[in-house]
Symmetry: C2
Subunit: 230 residues, 2 copies
């Protein structure tokens, strides 16, 4: 979307106009709230409509832009409904990037177009003024090969002597990323590889085994509470 500023004019293309006029049933002189992921939220009035386009005049800023902290969620796809859950919750909980990761025990596929729709719906619901980036699925080895070492990689390690989550996460500031394994967890070789990286920090999520989608939401909420913007 173009830049948003008070007094400005926006012209929506056919797809955007269709959504606003037909799906949301907005008419001339109706007010809508707009955001583009960088300028904040604005109130705008629909000033002209046609089948091909729709013109809006931007009235006033209703909320300034405040970016979510630079925290990523990397997760191994599992069942479709649980992937939807992870993506929806990560959007609500303020992830900046959501990236499916293919690990040794990952067998599930993931439909990224569907995931995109869920991030948009969740961002609107949560009144977030930006969308998380959605990365295409990538193999764990490739991800680690390209890793920016200034970004701490937090991984939930069920099978070890990892330290309790709250105190550990309180020391990990952005940029950071949370890595959640598939059902069945990481292989021993993956765990060793991860633990050998200086930028990797294992954490324990308590005495009960959490499903992957629960672990994703819990870790993200916890990080936001102790090191993010809560």
């Amino acid at each position: 979307m173009d830049a948003l500023a008070c007094g400005g004019t926006l012209v929506f293309d056919k797809a955007q106009s269709h959504y606003l006029a037909r799906v949301l049933r907005r008419k001339i002189d109706d007010q809508v709230r707009l955001f583009n992921g960088r300028d904040g939220e604005y109130l705008a009035t629909i000033s002209q409509t046609s089948k091909q386009k729709l013109t809006l005049s931007v009235d006033e800023q209703t909320r300034p832009f405040k970016p979510a902290p630079d925290i990523w969620l990397l997760f191994a796809p599992i069942k479709p409904k649980r992937n939807v859950f992870s993506v929806e919750k990560a959007t609500e909980l303020g992830a900046a990037l959501i990236q499916p990761v293919i690990t040794a025990r990952t067998t599930a596929k993931i439909n990224m177009d569907k995931m995109q729709a869920h991030t948009i719906e969740a961002a609107e619901q949560t009144e977030r003024l930006d969308l998380p980036c959605l990365g295409e699925p990538q193999k764990l080895a490739d991800l680690l090969a390209d890793w920016d070492e200034t970004r701490t990689l937090i991984f939930a390690d069920e099978a070890g002597d990892a330290k309790p989550a709250a105190k550990t996460l309180a020391k990990i500031k952005a940029p950071a990323a949370i890595l959640i394994g598939p059902e069945g967890g990481f292989t021993e070789a993956e765990r060793q590889t991860l633990r050998a990286k200086f930028y990797c920090t294992p954490i324990s999520l308590g005495p009960r085994i959490l499903r992957a989608d629960t672990a994703a939401a819990a870790t993200l909420a916890l990080w936001q509470a102790v090191s993010g913007d809560w």
Copy 2:
């Protein structure tokens, strides 16, 4: 279930025997893992089977019983799939009691039999050795009228000056309860009532509006991490 102890014998009734023999297809000399919510986990061997009953001999304890902390989740029912989510996640995250609460803006019904099935499934998945209690839906006013004032009531208060969650929850030890409102939140009258109780503590869950089910899982995870058994 009867008490579990090494060297003991258990006789399962018709329903339990049917489940083990027909649904799980276990036969004589098969070993199964048993727990009853108070004695821990035991390995037992099926020693006799018939249509009416099934006898097991208890071999050894595989895990001691460790009760989950005394934390409750009280939530206003919303859509069925989101209620399932709240109940499943609360079970995984170690809630001792899960109780639907009817608030002024609660319009949804909840099927408690279905919820019971979800707590059992989630407890098995998470290897919890007890089940959370499931309370029948109750009106918020009735719940507060009977409140045990030694139990701190934590409520997610979107519309106020509530303090950040992590530091506040770190000071709240068990027994405690987390109260999550419905879509649309609590009414102003409910908020005032809650805030006037000395045992009530409002918390803020950050700058993004969370769905009720997200707020439930996030608050419970956070409490377990800073004051529970993580």
